[in-house]
């Protein structure tokens, strides 16, 4: 029952993310979502296996603290507070997010689950989060917000990965952590370069190469 609550909260954070305009806030929310997901494996009643604890701790640390920390640092360099004039407005984003969540549920119906697991809500939630991440990536202009979007997208995958955490832990843990860590880490570096080279985070300036 706890995990259901956590998952519901996760989906709610999705909506908050697409609706918020302040970058600080969206980073906070992303961090909060990270913490939620980090706690999630502990509520699956898999017993206290050590690797799952580690996994949870790592997730909480990385998603909840380290990456937000990186992003905030990048944010301090460039003096921007809010995402002005996104490609897609906030109301529309909300609608699209809702639409996406709906679609995820439909889609999830077509994917049969192993009988008798606690995972009823996982697939739709994972897909919805994935879609939310995508939405952020597509609709926002600031590089940082896009990274946040990527972070959320990762969360979706992590959420799905939890379904397999017991049966094939190595695959899941290496995959999820490596992807998350490395991806975000490298992007942090690049963002620093960008903020140095362009003294701004606006990706509109990153559209000189075209046909």
């Amino acid at each position: 029952m706890y995990h259901d609550i956590l998952i519901t909260l996760t989906v709610l954070t999705n909506f908050t993310l697409v609706a918020t305009s302040r970058i600080h806030k969206s980073i906070q929310v992303a961090a909060f979502q990270g913490v939620l997901l980090g706690l999630l494996p502990l509520t699956l009643g898999l017993g206290f296996q050590i690797h799952i604890l580690l996994m949870a701790m790592a997730a909480v640390m990385v998603k909840g603290w380290f990456i937000p920390f990186l992003l905030r640092r990048a944010l301090l360099k460039v003096h921007i507070q809010r995402e002005v004039h996104p490609y897609i407005g906030y109301t529309v984003s909300l609608m699209l997010c809702a639409l996406g969540t709906g679609m995820s549920i439909v889609l999830a119906h077509n994917l049969p689950l192993k009988p008798g697991g606690p995972f009823a809500l996982f697939v739709p939630a994972a897909l919805a989060t994935l879609f939310t991440g995508f939405l952020l990536l597509v609709s926002r202009r600031k590089a940082i917000t896009q990274v946040v979007g990527y972070l959320v997208l990762e969360n979706g995958i992590y959420l799905f990965g939890l379904m397999l955490i017991q049966d094939m832990p190595i695959l899941v843990e290496t995959g999820v952590l490596l992807d998350l860590f490395v991806g975000i880490f490298v992007m942090g570096i690049v963002i620093n370069h960008i903020s140095v080279a362009f003294d701004s985070m606006d990706t509109r300036q990153l559209a000189e190469l075209k046909d």
């Binding site: 490609y87 679609m103 439909v106 889609l107 077509n110 995508f134 990536l137 597509v138 609709s139 926002r140 202009r141 896009q146 990706t203 509109r204 990153l206 559209a207 000189e208 190469l209 075209k210 046909d211």
Partner: protein, 663 residues
């Protein structure tokens, strides 16, 4: 190649095959020594090419006079399948003009393209390779070898056309040529795929009966028709030909026009040899396209001011004549009329030889003229007959032959086709014969007009420009090849009986299974042509002797009909000479004329220009390509550089696929 073992029927067949391969090697390497030596590269290349020609022609003679056929199996690309070379009568027949003309061209190159002129080495090198690929192509008996040689030939020709790539016009011409030839190749690939489906192998072999009439057979014929038609310069796929021929160095033009476009004909001949039961409409289509090509070709030629463009359009015309013969023969094959078959095919094949001889000759002569005067513009020439008499004589022989006038070789082949057409009148498909007759007679008359214009304006009268006035006779290296080709023209014209055996040999390979064909001699009494030609010449000589005054009197200016001060500029120009006919055919030609009306008693100076654009290239192909490119560049907004859009593509793709998967 892993290994190449020869599977030859009868040990005697080995000799021609070896000679043939040697000829290819000689030609291929003819340009190589020139890359390293400082001087004399051209002479070495020419020597090697002549040697290769001698080898190849002796090999061909063996086969054409009834010797055994050699076949060479090659481990081609192991991934794909085997390759095969057949030195059969068809190959032997085509290899003769290929090697002869290439050799002549490379001898001509000694004098035409200076040893230290830019690109001389490359020119020789690629000319040799071109000859080698052409020679390989005629023997190809397997789709892969064929396509290999085909593309090799096309690319070598492309690079040769590019020789003077500093001119934008040349670059454009070369691009048009490359684009066309590649399109043709893709069509051929489709055709060969269908052929493979029919008889299960890429090796050339007879197609199963009934296939030709089937849907796939139809598709195959159409693909081959387009693919080979592109190369042959058959209307409406001729448009690459005039610019390319005009842009290339003249001896390259002579090779391209003389033999390269004939490879399209070779393709048709091969196709004919595969099908035993072609539908009548195959021959009909080829014949009608031939008539159109012939008439349009010569009509377009009439309107040209550029000597080499004019000759190029005449190549289209002669391809038309060859196609007329092919069509007749094919109709004969499908209706089972042996006489029609023999005369049509023999005429077409002989015209392949003839055209390569006299068109090669004409291009070489045109090259000498351009070399001497520094221009290709007819309106700036004139009076060259006195300055370069040998070249003039050579050009005259070529013109005489290409107009199909007795007693030169052009007449013989046209005569055979005429005979076929006349015989066809009595048969069920008389309409095609009538088309052939009408087309040939019109083509003959127009060609005569066009070459009277060309020869008269270039070599007769007074020089129209300083360049023409300071022209000089070409070096012997350039004159000798012309002489050889002219002699060949005369030989075939005066004693056509000598080529009836080779023609019979080739034509018999085109017969359907178990079909006995009448011999050429029984249908066309070639001997009579010699019997007529000789007295004609004797009579002419006697009269000449009688008419020539002795001693020759003091010379006066041409009578100006009372006009006091005629200048060379007042001579009848090429445009005005052809004006009557061009105007008459304006409804197909659409000449572009810029002129001012002359009015009043003392009119101001007016300038007049007429230009005849190519109906296909300048009115269809070029605008079409430009339009398409413009439309496509309208889609550039798809990649405007915005990351979000790009990510949206990914997202949309994903969603589409997932939805598509669910429903």
């Amino acid at each position: 190649m892993d290994a190449a073992q020869a599977l030859v029927d009868g040990a005697a067949g080995v000799a021609p095959m070896i000679l043939y391969l040697l000829a290819i090697l000689f030609a291929a390497f003819s340009g190589v020594p020139g890359l390293f030596v400082k001087n004399h590269g051209a002479r070495i290349a020419a020597t090697l090419m002549v040697a290769s020609a001698l080898l190849g022609i002796s090999a061909a003679a063996g086969v054409l006079l009834g010797g055994p056929v050699a076949s060479l199996q090659i481990h081609g690309t192991p991934l794909v399948s085997w390759g095969r070379l057949d030195f059969d009568p068809i190959a032997a027949f085509f290899v003769v003009p290929v090697l002869l003309l290439s050799a002549m061209a490379s001898v001509y190159g000694i004098g035409y393209w200076g040893e230290h002129q830019e690109g001389a080495r490359a020119l020789r090198f690629f000319l040799g390779l071109l000859a080698a690929f052409l020679a390989l192509l005629v023997g190809a008996a397997h789709a892969f070898v064929f396509l290999l040689a085909w593309e090799g030939m096309a690319l070598m020709a492309f690079i040769l056309v590019m020789t003077e790539d500093r001119e934008p016009g040349t670059r454009r011409a070369a691009w048009i040529y490359l684009a066309s030839t590649h399109t043709g190749t893709l069509l051929l690939i489709g055709g060969f795929a269908l052929m493979m489906m029919a008889n299960g192998s890429f090796a050339f072999s007879a197609l199963p009966p009934g296939f030709a009439a089937s849907g796939r057979g139809t598709a195959m014929f159409v693909l081959f028709l387009l693919g080979f038609g592109f190369k042959a310069g058959m209307l409406p796929f001729h448009f690459w030909l005039p610019p390319a021929h005009a842009a290339a160095p003249s001896h390259v033009s002579s090779v391209m026009s003389g033999i390269l476009i004939k490879m399209g004909i070779l393709g048709f001949i091969r196709l004919v040899s595969w099908v035993s039961d072609p539908p009548v409409w195959w021959g009909g289509t080829i014949l009608v396209l031939g008539a159109i090509s012939g008439i349009m070709g010569v009509a377009l030629a009439l309107g040209q001011h550029d000597l080499k463009r004019l000759l190029a359009y005449h190549s289209i015309e002669n391809i038309g004549i060859i196609l007329l013969g092919l069509g007749l023969g094919l109709i004969g094959k499908s209706t089972g009329h042996g006489s029609l078959q023999v005369l049509g095919f023999a005429g077409a094949l002989l015209h392949v030889w003839n055209h390569s001889l006299f068109k090669g000759l004409l291009f070489l002569a045109a090259g000498s003229v351009a070399h001497a005067t520094g221009t290709r513009d007819l309106e700036r020439m004139g009076g060259l007959g006195r300055l370069m008499p040998k070249t003039a004589a050579a050009f005259l022989v070529g013109a005489w032959a290409i107009c199909g006038l007795p007693p030169l070789n052009g007449f013989v082949s046209e005569w055979l086709i005429y005979l076929g057409a006349f015989r066809g009148l009595g048969l069920s498909r008389w309409a095609f014969s009538l088309i052939t007759l009408g087309a040939l007679s019109v083509i003959g008359a127009l060609a005569l007009a066009c070459f009277a214009k060309a020869f008269g304006v270039v070599f007769q009268g007074e020089p129209r420009s300083d360049g023409a006035a300071q022209a000089h006779e070409s070096s012997s290296a350039m004159l000798v090849p012309m002489g050889v080709l002219a002699l060949a023209c005369a030989a075939i014209g005066l004693a056509p009986i000598v080529i009836s055996t080779p023609l019979n040999r080739v034509v018999s390979t085109l017969a359907a299974e178990g079909q006995g064909l009448p011999s050429l001699g029984s249908l066309a009494e070639l001997g009579w042509l010699s019997a007529m030609a000789v007295p004609l010449l004797v009579l002419g000589l006697i009269l000449w002797k009688w008419a020539v005054p002795s001693p020759r009197l003091k010379e006066l200016p041409t009578w100006g009909c009372g006009y006091i001060a005629p200048t060379p500029r007042m001579q009848y120009t090429a445009s005005s000479f052809a004006d009557g006919l061009v105007q008459g055919m304006n409804w197909v030609l659409w000449t572009k004329v810029q002129s001012g009306r002359v009015r009043g008693f003392f009119p101001f100076p007016r300038r007049f220009e007429s230009h005849l654009p190519d109906p296909v290239l300048d009115r269809v192909a070029d605008p079409g390509l430009r339009g398409t490119a413009f439309l496509l560049s309208g889609l550039r907004f798809l990649q405007a550089g915005h990351m979000s859009i790009y990510l949206m593509y990914v997202l949309l793709t994903l969603l589409t696929l997932l939805v598509w998967m669910v429903v």
